[in-house]
Symmetry: C2
Subunit: 257 residues, 2 copies
């Protein structure tokens, strides 16, 4: 079942760069639009996850809190889409390349309880958010700052984190179960990152640029069109960073990563 995701070479968007048809060498606006598409689609997915846990919440206060968190995701999505709206790009057009991208992830992480469903939202959204922030470092010039401003408002998952941390703190059996579940979800999420970058060469290019910017590799830093580093190195670097952030997230939840 892991075949599609783990096939070596699927994450090879930057391996054939250089030609005039290479999407990885697209104009900076195209890179921004691709990242906005991913981030906006992620917020829409998070809206759905949080709203679903609002609908079946155990009490009215939780229901209200999660509804507001879901609406917060959609507000953030609106700010992101605003970055490319001036180019006449509709929400649907920008997100369409990612439609259905999470279907496999969803099927593999069907939650067994309300808490698991909420943790899936927190972990899944957390990884996606960290990914988008890392990739944004590969944008050049105005796009990078604009994306950061649209994205860096308080994350809507904050309340959900508080709800889960409180629940876990009061129930060690639940905490153990959630820790196990969190490891499963993050494993699938990191696999999905690999798949998404494999299917979207522009995002893979952003990852390579981001790494170059972080490591001082001027030849591949944002603003250049030079060939960045090797795919495998970039992927390893990215997954290491996403894993570290996930560990911090689980710490905040009081759960073993």
């Amino acid at each position: 079942m892991d075949e599609q995701r783990s096939t070596p070479g699927t994450w090879s968007g930057t391996g054939t760069t250089g030609g005039p048809q290479d999407p990885g060498a697209a104009a900076p606006d195209a890179l921004l639009e691709e990242l906005v598409g991913l981030a906006a689609y992620t917020e829409l997915a998070t809206f759905g996850l949080l709203a679903s846990r609002s609908v079946d919440a155990v009490d009215l206060a939780t229901r209200q809190t999660l509804a507001e968190a879901a609406a917060g995701s959609l507000e953030r999505q609106g700010r992101l889409l605003g970055l490319v709206a001036a180019d006449g790009r509709s929400a649907a057009a920008v997100m369409t390349p990612f439609a259905g991208a999470f279907a496999d992830f969803d099927a593999r992480t069907s939650p067994g309880s309300w808490s698991e469903g909420l943790l899936k939202g927190v972990v899944g959204h957390g990884v996606a958010q960290d990914l988008c922030r890392e990739l944004a470092a590969g944008l050049s010039g105005a796009g990078s700052g604009a994306f950061a401003r649209a994205y860096d408002e308080p994350a809507p998952g904050g309340w959900a984190t508080t709800l889960l941390a409180d629940a876990a703190a009061g129930d060690s059996v639940l905490a153990s179960r959630l820790a196990l579940w969190g490891r499963r979800v993050v494993g699938e999420a990191l696999g999905l990152v690999q798949t998404v970058l494999g299917e979207h060469p522009r995002l893979a290019r952003l990852a390579a640029r981001a790494r170059a910017a972080g490591t001082g590799d001027a030849a591949a830093a944002p603003g250049t069109t030079t060939e960045p580093g090797q795919d495998a190195d970039v992927l390893a670097w990215l997954l290491q960073r996403l894993t570290a952030e996930h560990t911090r997230r689980m710490d905040r939840l009081g759960l073993a990563a």
Copy 2:
């Protein structure tokens, strides 16, 4: 199964008015708070209905549209809650009297398809919205105007109506099924109106005042504390008005009421 709902006399909040303990003779602020609680809880329920239909929408554009409509319901709820927030009343405190009020309605109207689920949202929210508007006519003074301003923004169900009307226009079998489903949902919704007024004497008092205001019965109009008209008359008047609005709504959908 209809026993609780249809028992004569459950809707008798105004039948014993006059004493110092009578909740129907509460201060105008208490009447406003009760109506805000009902309207805010309704918007939260509508948020859930629309968000759920966003999650399983057939295409990305529909998913986005319904997510935005759901968020619109929550915005409207925020404006309503703002009307009583100055009194230090939290969202949960104001809505708590209505927690679970729709559980029976939900159990009786479990949709058999995505379209039925969406129509349930449009009809259920429509009836609730019409009810709140009618009851608001029973508020006196500043409360009435403030409620109308918070409530009279474009209803978030507009897009859902367009989606359903388009679907029904292109499929006569679906249109027939939805028309039948709409009659079932509105029947349950009108039964729920009776139950809610029976359980919330302040709302029943608002209904009596609203009718008096509409028919020129000065003795029971807003701003007085005189005994309003008979329960049964008021209920018949209210249901007639809600039914008429429902017929117009189904016309807009292109469905037989």
